[in-house]
Symmetry: C2
Subunit: 459 residues, 2 copies
């Protein structure tokens, strides 16, 4: 997920205190779904289809950056396969997406010792001149320290060596480091990769420019090299580094949100949406961020179909495009479906990895929360019964801000940021059974909400 | 440490059952050192000198492969600094060492999908032709599977995708994979890196050829890519890979064992040796393998000197050269000091990282073991009081095999193989306080053994 998605997930709902009698009745009706929930769990855990499909997609098409052939070929494959699965109306809904390409890139320490440094340019960065940028390095530990040392920054490469605390706190240097460094006259910005654990692993991710400062190249070094350069700097050694980047932003490209449905038997116009984002960064396999979110959502529909469960309302799986560096997919979904948003009963997003499920973060009315919590009880055998306050996601943000109740699927995130946006976001980190548990959790929530006699209450 | 060092550490001593009356008396005399042991701990833990010196060396000279300028410059710096420290007779004792150089290298997957693969050539490997070796990949999970599929191997690149169980079991594929693959007609050998944890991290290390098979290039892929290629292979996809390596073995080079002393006040000709190996692989910083072993040994002498503790016998610190790919330093030490080995009272090696100390592995007489165990009690406050059966190390192997009692310094090895022989063997993985604890442990053991009225009993 992107920084924006993460920050949104952390938002808190101030709970109201009243629920309606109708809602109470609905909560009681949830109990009737206990047996079917058990069957869904049993069916989802019976095989490793979700893991196998994600592995096939990740191995065959590779990472899926917006604008890349990899992404569009993966989308083609999903649509063809959904067709074969017999899902309703598989389609690509077009969205124009940014098209940033990395090109060749390198960082070399020249002084006090010559050595190559592992690095990844940040998404959206401009290039260096072809000969690179060779400059002395100023190391700071915070924006505040940069302010204090502003007079030393002119003509230098600023390295933000900021240890990981929380993602939300540390990612600010990835997003905003280039602007802050350019403001004080730096010629490039480097960050310590945003991760708590490193095996000399650079992590990419989106960065921003603004309209008032020069656009300078921005890249991530590893925790190891950032710490080493900081030590050299603290010893009073002159540190000189050469950064070369060919990065460029091409004209916007056409991509697609991947959409398919299990049509409702009574109110097909009423929709429960669930999904993840199909794009990824251009390194690793985009397995947990967020191929897994798309695949478990898709597999949830397949499990329901296999069990012959056709709910009253439609369940729609969406693989949003361009979450990472533009959120154009989520926005395009809102715009295309603007007239149907009143009939969007619930939007469920999975974008925190597909590790062992823990529960759901919910944003919506208290009456609806009571129902979601009751459904959550069915996930007790999976260890995923908790309904957390607040929840959603970057891709469903555009529609939840229009009033659609939102759920952020929650998983064990202990190691998520070890892998996030790096070469290590790969299949071997994911467990087939844990993925199947996520399929069960998503399928149960979507099915019960889509099948309850009454709509999930808004405010 | 090398594979050889590890296997040696695992050897087991069959304990004899008798100890002498003299030894009992010596054990009782150990008690007299309790107060000085406390002072040593206090002094060692009072600063971060060991960590700071290791960081300076690692940052300034980089990794230290045998034959490299990096290694010789680091040795020069150590000798100069030992001189400034006022240690006795700092000197480099020459040894001829192998001179393998990596050169440029790359691995690219061509089919079923084009992508670059992270890799490291194995130490000692030959080069590919300049245009590389392009061939289909045969994936096997064991030597046994290779035997079964021998008919399929001709002309192919064999990939041993063997998950880490223990280092001893898994490293056999690194050491022997090329010979096994060449025997069945393969054109190159690849292994899954020998590590339990990977963030797309290749790990190098020594490999062997024999005189009866063609020398084929050998390299390590990451856990992630080995697993991916294995999945492709299992799906029946044709996997084609291009391997390019410029590796070559140049004529042997001159290196040096680094040696300095704290001279004994009564029996300067009797010696307690302690040390680690100063060479490393050519990636990362060789911080824990094994710069740390050298630096804590050296710092142990400095702490004793600072406390004004001059033992009866000489304590000698040695930074052996070329442990990783030849063991020429350990062998040269034995040969140069052949006439003095009867006066080598104890040899102590640290080559398992400088994480939190756990105790000592000891190989020698039961009488001596009783004394070492009594000294170990002083390390209780450090959590390092255990004396394990068997112990030693690759570098002291040549002299312990001549009868010198040996100690392998033991530390918490939980994460050692995460970093071992990779770009991630760097300073940030080491903790200043844990390093200081190792200094204390080494200093106490060396000092008490060197100062006891009687020599540590052999058989």
């Amino acid at each position: 997920m992107s920084a924006r998605g993460y920050l949104y997930t952390g938002s808190v709902l101030l709970a109201a205190t009243l629920t309606t009698t109708t809602a109470h009745a609905q909560v009681e009706r949830v109990v009737d779904y206990r047996e079917v929930a058990g069957r869904i769990i049993q069916s989802a855990l019976a095989d490793s289809n979700a893991w196998n499909r994600l592995a096939y997609m990740a191995d065959t098409f590779g990472p899926r950056l917006s604008g890349s052939d990899n992404l569009e070929r993966a989308i083609d494959w999903i649509l063809e396969t959904m067709e074969r699965d017999g899902l309703s109306n598989p389609r690509g809904e077009p969205a124009m997406v940014p098209h940033w390409v990395r090109g060749l890139e390198s960082a070399e320490l020249l002084l006090p010792r010559e050595t190559k440094l592992a690095m990844l340019g940040l998404g959206g960065s401009v290039a260096t001149p072809p000969e690179g940028i060779t400059a002395e390095v100023l190391v700071v530990s915070s924006f505040e320290e940069l302010d204090e040392r502003a007079a030393e920054a002119r003509g230098k490469i600023v390295l933000f060596d900021v240890p990981f605390t929380t993602y939300g706190a540390t990612v600010r240097y990835r997003s905003g480091g280039a602007v802050a460094a350019a403001r004080v006259g730096a010629v490039a910005a480097l960050i310590r990769s945003v991760t708590p654990v490193s095996l000399n692993s650079p992590h990419t991710g989106a960065m921003n420019y603004d309209s008032t400062t020069t656009r300078i190249p921005a890249a991530a070094l590893t925790v190891e090299d950032a710490a080493m350069i900081h030590r050299m700097h603290d010893r009073g050694q002159r540190v000189v580094l050469r950064l070369r980047m060919e990065a460029q932003t091409l004209p916007d490209a056409v991509s697609r949100n991947v959409v398919a449905e299990l049509r409702g038997r009574e109110h097909p116009e009423e929709v429960v949406v669930l999904g993840g984002h199909i794009d990824s960064w251009d390194v690793g396999q985009g397995a947990m961020d967020d191929g897994g979110g798309v695949i478990v959502s898709w597999e949830a529909l397949r499990v329901l179909k296999r069990l012959g469960l056709q709910p009253r309302r439609t369940i729609r799986v969406v693989g949003w495009t361009n979450e990472e560096n533009g959120l154009r997919g989520g926005t395009a979904y809102r715009d295309r479906h603007a007239q149907e948003l009143d009939n969007h009963i619930l939007a469920i997003e999975s974008d925190g990895g597909v590790f062992a499920p823990r529960g759901f973060g919910f944003t919506g009315s208290n009456a609806a929360r009571a129902i979601i919590s009751a459904i959550g009880q069915f996930l007790e055998p999976l260890g995923a019964a908790t309904v957390f306050p607040g929840g959603g996601g970057a891709d469903i943000g555009p529609i939840t801000r229009e009033g659609v109740p939102g759920v952020g699927h929650q998983v064990d995130g202990t190691k998520y940021f070890w892998y996030h946006h790096s070469h290590a976001d790969t299949m071997d980190k994911l467990d087939p059974r844990e993925m199947a548990m996520n399929v069960a959790a998503m399928a149960i929530l979507a099915y019960v909400v889509a099948d309850l006699p009454e709509r999930l209450p808004r405010q």
